[in-house]
């Protein structure tokens, strides 16, 4: 008897209604036939050979596996829902700042309908110093698989610019408690965008290519004429929930993997950034970046090495600013920065990796001369991680920072427990 057939509910129609009385008459005879088919009793097994018994056991194992699959799996076209995500609790003790514990939680909600459609979302919950709960939407988009090489979608998506924002930002994947200076708050690359995208992968010979193309509301240039916003004058803001100037931005990232261990990517994003009706002149921004990740194949007896790096240049057309409504300010609005990171997981025993991992990262961010922003920053961070499971880790790190100008260098120690689930 087939397990799958047991789980299917027969449709009741007119023909079935006529068959019911027939079944009532023939039922006992039918049951008798079933009773005659191989009951698992001592008497039945006694006359069978070892080979027959093994075959019977294999058939039972297959039936059991099918039953398990049917109970836990679902076929195409059925709603599939999953909650995953990550969370962390951190402690930092940096010069010039009060030492503090912080915590955040980011559920990732996935909804899959058929083999082609996926809705993905990431929420961000964190606790502000004021005691309020801050809630953000990291991404929320729907995508549709066109074929083996193309996926299209729309919504709020992680911007395919470089690799940190799109792939490495979850706290259990990032090997240090902090993001690179070019990413996140005060950074010069977008984390997420609202728009539409087309992306995928393909092979040419032994080379693997991946590609992402998108159109979005794009960044917005902060004029800073309001005194409260003067310090941000000339910066690009990337958290635009609506287009502020009827000028969309377009971007792309193309990655090349000549061998499985090495990926090299280039990224590009351009568009108009001056908000409509603003007193500053219309300006375009252009961001260009390169990224590299290298994971050499190594035996666990030698540990595991990971090398990663990115560099980005952000340029905004020259326009005159009036920070805080003051004097005209004109400068070359170009910013650049990047990071280089090396991580080594120690070898363990029994062909497994050790739970211990060392990390070192150098990152830098250059701001335009004469701009109201912070001076240039250089930082080196050393970390020691202990992996409790493949997706949970305790990180200890020390950073040494150099901020040109009057700003306090925020050297100090950080500790973080991060988990992905």
């Amino acid at each position: 008897m087939n397990i799958q057939s047991l789980l299917q509910v027969p449709r009741m129609d007119t023909l079935s209604a006529w068959l019911i009385p027939i079944f009532l008459v023939t039922g006992p005879a039918f049951a008798q036939d079933q009773d005659d088919a191989e009951p698992a009793t001592e008497a039945a097994l006694e006359g069978q050979s070892t080979a027959d018994i093994l075959q019977r056991m294999r058939a039972m194992e297959m039936d059991l596996h099918q039953l398990q699959r049917a109970l836990t799996d679902s076929g195409p076209g059925v709603h599939q829902f999953m909650v995953t995500g990550f969370a962390n609790t951190s402690f930092s003790n940096l010069k010039g700042k009060d030492s503090s514990f912080t915590t955040s939680y980011s559920p990732v909600i996935l909804y899959k309908f058929s083999d082609s459609f996926l809705f993905e979302s990431e929420l961000e919950f964190s606790l502000a110093q004021t005691g309020e709960v801050e809630v953000g939407v990291g991404y929320a988009n729907g995508s549709f698989i066109l074929n083996d090489n193309w996926i299209v979608g729309a919504g709020k998506f992680l911007t395919p610019f470089g690799i940190f924002g799109e792939r490495i930002h979850p706290v259990w994947i990032n090997k240090l408690p902090t993001a690179p200076l070019t990413a996140g708050h005060g950074g010069i690359v977008p984390t997420s965008s609202i728009g539409a995208f087309a992306r995928g992968g393909a092979r040419t010979g032994s080379t693997k290519w991946n590609y992402s193309f998108y159109v979005s509301n794009g960044p917005e240039l902060e004029a800073g004429s309001d005194p409260a916003e003067a310090a941000a004058s000339g910066q690009l803001h990337f958290n635009n929930n609506a287009d502020s100037n009827n000028a969309k931005s377009v971007g792309a990232r193309i990655g090349c993997l000549p061998v499985a261990e090495l990926e090299i990517g280039v990224s590009y994003l351009t568009g108009g950034v001056t908000p409509s009706g603003n007193e500053i002149a219309d300006a375009n921004s252009t961001l260009m970046g390169v990224d590299l990740s290298y994971n050499p194949k190594m035996s666990p007896t030698h540990g595991r090495v990971e090398v990663r790096g990115e560099w980005v240049v952000s340029n905004v057309d020259d326009v005159v600013y009036n920070p805080g409504g003051g004097a005209d300010l004109l400068y070359n609005n170009e910013r650049s920065g990047g990071y280089f990171q090396f991580a080594y997981r120690l070898p363990g025993s029994d062909l497994r990796l050790s739970p211990w991992e060392g990390v070192a990262r150098y990152d830098t961010l250059s701001q335009p001369q004469d701009s109201p922003q912070l001076a240039n920053r250089d930082r080196i961070t050393f970390g020691l991680n202990h992996w409790l499971t493949p997706s949970s880790v305790v990180k200890a790190a020390y950073q040494i920072e150099d901020r040109n100008g009057a700003q306090q260098d925020q050297d100090g120690f950080m500790l973080q427990f991060a988990v992905g689930f």
């Binding site: 799996d73 996926l118 260009m288």
Partner: protein
């Protein structure tokens, strides 16, 4: 001047790196092999384990196949195909490996 020079530097670096990468890929098609042997032009079910290791480990530690149920792996694989820009063949091979266990 500094702006143009920096943009040119990034552009030249990008073109150079991609050109070197694609040339390296072409060279590896012919005679050279990595320690695991030549990469098959057509992804087969037996390549699922290698694809799982090659693609997933680029970003994070490998979760064991028994970390999720078969149904959950189908959702996760779809999500990761989008994130990592896997081809359909790669995603199916990896999913088959994860759902069938070791």
């Amino acid at each position: 001047m500094k702006t143009r020079n920096n943009n040119r530097l990034v552009g030249v670096a990008a073109v150079t790196l991609l050109s070197l990468a694609s040339l390296a890929g072409c060279e590896s098609t012919g005679s050279s092999e990595n320690v695991d042997g030549p990469r098959p032009a057509v992804v087969t079910a037996s390549a699922g384990a290698r694809l799982w290791e090659d693609n997933c480990v680029r970003c994070h530690n490998l979760r064991l196949p028994n970390a999720y149920t078969d149904g959950e792996w189908a959702i996760v694989a779809h999500h990761m195909r989008l994130r990592a820009n896997l081809t359909g063949e790669e995603a199916r091979a990896i999913l088959a490996f994860l759902q069938n266990g070791f």
